[in-house]
Amino acid sequence: MLCESCGKNTAVIRVKAIVNGEPVEYALCSECAHDLGYANLLFDMLTGYDGTLNDFFPDGEDAAEVKHCPCCGASFQDILRSGKIGCAECYHTFADQLAPFLRKIHGSVSHRGKTAGGGDLPQVLPKAQLSVMHQQLREAIQSENFEQAAALRDKIHEMEEDGQ
């Protein structure tokens, strides 16, 4: 199938968009998809690669030896076919296979910026949250917003109980 944007290259991806109030689907070649902002793992994997996808799937491979992600069940071939990672665990399961592609997309840099945290202590709200709430309670009382103050006081009480 030909790309519906340039009409020249072979389409490799289908994308969805809303046009004139209706959902529509386009088939795009990798170049047009890139130009239109549909970043996809698959293109970068195949860009500059002379072979076809089949080279990634050698014939006669023993199915039992194919590695599957323990969390989502995806194989590396599933990731290549869909251009989508199966789950967070896949990044560890297929770390070696993904590494060259991730380097190709992002270079050899690693993450800087915000860090997820507190996720492994799901139910305990940190003291900071409580102190913010105490501050909000004082403000509510000062501005004589008693309904909000009462709700805040109950919430703080509830949280302090839970935290013990």
């Binding site: 109030g21 989502c72 199966g86 967070a88 690693s110 997820a116």
Partner: protein, 339 residues
């Protein structure tokens, strides 16, 4: 309560709005393309439960919209408002969006990632918009196990967004640079600086209404603030360039003639398509910011553009409309707004 797009803000003459998204996923649950229906429902429930823990504050008051229980027109209207993706419209089961009353904060659930946290505002207000998104993200992070790796950052379904998982965008109105044919060259240069600039409504080289979206493309190796400061400095240059060109352009009688003719048509038309409205509204917007058309705020025109989108118009009217009824209703709304 006013929606975020109904407010006035700095730099809105060129940058109509700011939006920042964070892509987040939960540990131990397959990403959306491999999720079961039970997974989808459980993620929706988890997020609902977490937000309700903030019952006394703003997050607890978010409206939950389950996509499977709304009309197609409403779902498409949500996509036109960019609260959900086009892909979510075509597969609505177990998907939803949580939205604040002024629509400035939202969480789309089970789209490209488990959560897409989004913050928006009028004008160019990267700091404020980032602050609101960051605060909501931190609140959720305390109660939900986000998938994160020290090297790779936030783990996303599409590996392009690894790292911060953050995309910040400005909605730029560039009628003067479009008229001069400079936008293609600017977009090309920006792509080498880790930014992208594309047409908002359609993909043509000269996009409809001269609306462009300028976004960061790099999410890895740059912190959120570094990415925002890159975006802000490039946007600043584009904005001052556009303003200079507007000044030259709007001094020409032929351009003034187009502006006032388009204004006349919008004030009098009885039927108008969205495409025609966008084109003429672009000239009128230019006229307003140049001081040629007085008494109409830019935010009022931007609200009209928002409300004139086909599915949004149909959903707000509460009825099924034919193409002609749509054009009639749009023309009436525009007339009433401008007269």
């Amino acid at each position: 309560m006013n929606k975020w797009y109904q407010t006035t803000a700095d730099n809105a003459d060129v940058s109509a709005s700011t939006s920042i998204c964070f892509a987040r996923n939960l540990v131990g649950i397959p990403f959306p393309s491999r999720m079961s229906m039970a997974d989808r429902r459980s993620v929706l429930q988890k997020i609902q439960a977490v937000l309700s823990q903030d019952r006394n504050f703003r997050y607890g008051r978010f409206t939950q919209v389950d996509l499977e229980s709304i009309s197609k027109a409403q779902a498409i209207a949500l996509a036109e408002s960019e609260l959900i993706s086009a892909e979510m419209v075509t597969d609505t089961q177990g998907r939803g969006v949580f939205v604040s009353e002024d629509e400035s904060l939202s969480i789309a659930v089970n789209g490209e990632d488990h959560l897409l946290i989004q913050s928006k505002s009028a004008g160019m207000q990267l700091e404020k918009v980032f602050g609101a998104a960051d605060e909501l993200d931190t609140f959720l992070d305390r109660l939900l196990p986000f998938a994160f790796d020290a090297q790779l950052g936030y783990l996303t379904q599409n590996p392009f967004y690894l790292g911060t998982g953050m995309i910040a965008s400005l909605q730029l109105h560039l009628p003067a640079l479009t008229e001069l044919g400079s936008t293609g060259r600017i977009a090309h240069n920006l792509s080498r600086l880790g930014l992208t600039m594309r047409g908002t409504f359609g993909t043509e080289p000269n996009p409809k209404g001269a609306w462009f979206r300028l976004s960061n493309q790099v999410t890895m190796g740059l912190s959120e603030r570094e990415a925002l400061s890159n975006l802000s400095s490039m946007a600043g240059q584009i904005i001052s360039h556009e303003r200079e060109m507007r000044e030259t352009l709007t001094g020409r009688l032929s351009v003034q003639d187009t502006i006032f003719r388009d204004f006349g048509i919008l004030k009098n038309a009885r039927l108008i398509s969205f495409e025609e409205f966008l084109k003429r509204a672009s000239a009128v917007r230019l006229g307003i910011t140049a001081g040629l058309i007085k008494g109409i705020a830019v935010s009022k025109l931007d609200t009209m553009i928002y409300k004139a989108q086909p599915a949004t118009l149909i959903f707000d009217s509460g009825e099924a409309l034919t193409e002609e009824e749509c054009c009639k209703l749009r023309a009436r709304m525009v007339r009433e707004g401008l007269n």
